[in-house]
Symmetry: C2
């Protein structure tokens, strides 16, 4: 039997025991995990050093090595993340509906764990701990398949977590790491129907696309974000500039940052040159349509392909549009239904935009960067869903639960 | 371009217009559909006659022809189903959460249509109308792919509905029927990512398995039901018999009927012979384990395969178990997580069963036959989900919606 199937079976076998844990038992297990990470940080950092060394030998870019690197401070941050999950309310057992039928049947709909959750991710070892914490807190078993470049780190982290869990009521088997670095282990994981209840991919567009295109297990699609800000004719130029700059440049590498700025023609004539100057001061490379380049001659020409690209970088497309309709058409064509914003003083236009634009989060006069579990007050998130089923937008703990109907009677039969 | 892709594009193009309809506009369209079915029932019945004739020539069994057959009374029932959907509350626009963040951002989470829903089904022409009504009521476009044996009926029904919709505010393009009877049209539909937002299969186990195994579009799995009733030691023998008989024989052909009866050994010694006799009077064929056959000699031997079979017929497996644990193990091994019941006077055992058994609906002292949208008071349902994501159990109108975050600010940017 392959490693991935064997570990899925082990994790699934822990599901009934997990299902019987109280919130207190789960929280104690998470705290033990946090303590163990701090205590054993030296050996984790040593293992991480092996990954970094291998990465350097393979010529991995510094930015990638930085995502991979662990130090005392980062491990402390990861442990603190677990403590924050402990503080979040446990959604399991929450009664969502309760009603009594005319025949006396009492029906409750309540939240239950999903079962076994698969996470496929890249080279960030912090995801190993975050994902484990969020899944275990909600009573789910978890099968982790991280990138091979972080394998030594992940193996050591999971070893430390297993040792910690062995001293708690939470069965260590509930947490499994696939160590097989071959692509075939991912392919097999995507088709483990009957063992895996859901797969959540966390990573770049190509990882997510591979999962969506090949999985037969249900998937929650996350992350891809080609987000827009539309600056309407009537918008306050200072507010518009602040929101646009924040959406692009406050942290360009994340999915809720803006890739394309759409500007009403009349606003562009008056204010675009000033805003473009602010972007240039922040070293943002500008690409623009012909109308933009008349106003901002230094902008490079923009292509259809640019509009369809998630840069995650200090690069911005700018397009002048005739108004709300053209802006919404552009968003419908190129957006990924993640986060979309209108800056306007026209409430009618704002209402149209908020209603008609099809996205997980639609904004009026605020930066798209707010699409985030912490910013919404949900606490830690497993990702931002860009699909429409089960969960959409920032996924807090309730997104990691299913529901169950509990029906009690005194002999009712159907007529 | 293939017919299925072309019709998906046409339906998807109607989504923005659908999204702007009020509840009243949608209800008027549904009523117009109901009226048109009644007015044009003659030509629908004529078209249905062609399907029946073809079916007879091909030697289709009578039971299948009965599912396919339409007459004035059945069409009146189908039209009445549409009127009942009109009476259901419209979930679209419902505000599920609303909160203001410390920085003044106002966030609402509200229900929105999913977009374009694909339905793949078999030879029941009533599904054409039911599915169209439920999807359109929730502001979704719908791409229908029914069985080829009902093609003439479905084509005529959709023609009648299109004519009716043309006189309403609801764009007729929102309702599309795939007429290509080749299997390849299903295969293509399963991979229409970006056009289809979800596929809901309605039909037998092989249809559902094909969809689950091959779709890259998200799927809501419905229907497969290997349901159990466990009769505990302490249960009232009259109640136990009534519930078991109702669960098996009130309507064996549906997914929430019982396939296997699990009986505590001590209860079996005292009462199984009597219950078996009642089943025989209803012409239920009994299969049993060795312990059962000592008590009920006429029972046939039961196999592992029988335990894993959804009969949907007057056939019942009976197994004697040592108690609650063995019963729950059997259910975990053979169940499809649909509906599971315990009959007991022991509240501790009932609590264990209701908590530990992993199924969409778990029952104490009531027949599994209640797992149904109407019985739960939800009104018409699109199916019974046996998966854990998005919707589980009877799916009423809210299961046909997604959500969206609507965020309004006055210039907030992220720090």
């Amino acid at each position: 039997m392959s490693e991935v199937r064997q570990k899925a079976i082990q994790a699934q076998a822990a599901v009934p025991q997990l299902n019987r844990l109280t919130t207190d038992q789960k929280n104690k297990a998470l705290l033990a995990m946090a303590d163990a990470l701090l205590e054993k940080s030296d050996i984790i950092i040593t293992a991480n050093g092996e990954d970094l060394e291998r990465g350097r030998q393979q010529g991995t870019p510094e930015s990638m090595l930085d995502r991979l690197a662990l130090n005392q401070e980062r491990i402390a941050g990861i442990a603190e993340g677990l403590r924050q999950i402990v503080d979040l309310p446990d959604p399991v057992g929450e009664v969502l509906e309760t009603f009594t039928r005319p025949d006396g049947l009492h029906i409750q709909k309540l939240r239950v764990p999903i079962g076994l959750i698969g996470i496929i991710y890249e080279a960030r070892p912090n995801v190993t701990v975050d994902a484990a914490g969020l899944c275990l807190k909600t009573g789910n078993a978890v099968l982790l398949r991280g990138g091979s470049s972080a394998l030594s780190s992940n193996r050591k982290i999971v070893e430390v977590l297993h040792e910690a869990l062995a001293k708690t009521d939470l069965p260590p088997d509930a947490l499994q790491l696939v160590e097989d670095a071959n692509r075939s282990s991912v392919d097999e994981m995507l088709k483990l129907n009957g063992l895996l209840d859901v797969i959540i991919p966390r990573g770049g567009a190509s990882l997510i696309q591979n999962v969506v295109a090949n999985a037969t297990v249900p998937v929650i699609e996350t992350g891809a974000g080609i987000c827009h800000t539309y600056v309407d004719e009537s918008s306050d130029p200072v507010m518009a500039a602040e929101i646009a700059i924040n959406a692009k440049a406050q942290r360009p590498s994340v999915c809720n940052s803006m890739e394309t700025l759409l500007v009403h023609a009349a606003f562009a004539e008056q204010h675009l040159a000033t805003i473009a100057e602010q972007f240039r001061e922040l070293n943002v490379l500008l690409k623009g349509c012909d109308a933009v380049r008349r106003i901002v001659p230094s902008a490079q020409p923009v292509s259809e392909e640019d509009y369809a690209t998630e840069y995650n970088d200090y690069i911005l497309n700018i397009r002048v549009v005739s108004g709300l309709e053209e802006a919404m058409q552009h968003i419908a064509q190129y957006g990924t239904k993640h986060s979309e914003c209108i800056v306007t003083a026209n409430t009618e236009n704002a209402e149209r935009f908020l209603h008609d634009v099809d996205a997980a989060a639609v904004y009026h006069n605020a930066s798209t960067r707010f699409t985030d579990g912490f910013e919404f007050g949900y606490g830690a998130e497993i990702g931002i869903s860009t699909q429409k089923l089960h969960a959409r937008g920032p996924m807090g703990l309730p997104a990691l639960t299913s529901t169950k109907y509990r029906i009690t009677g005194d002999g009712q039969i159907r007529q």
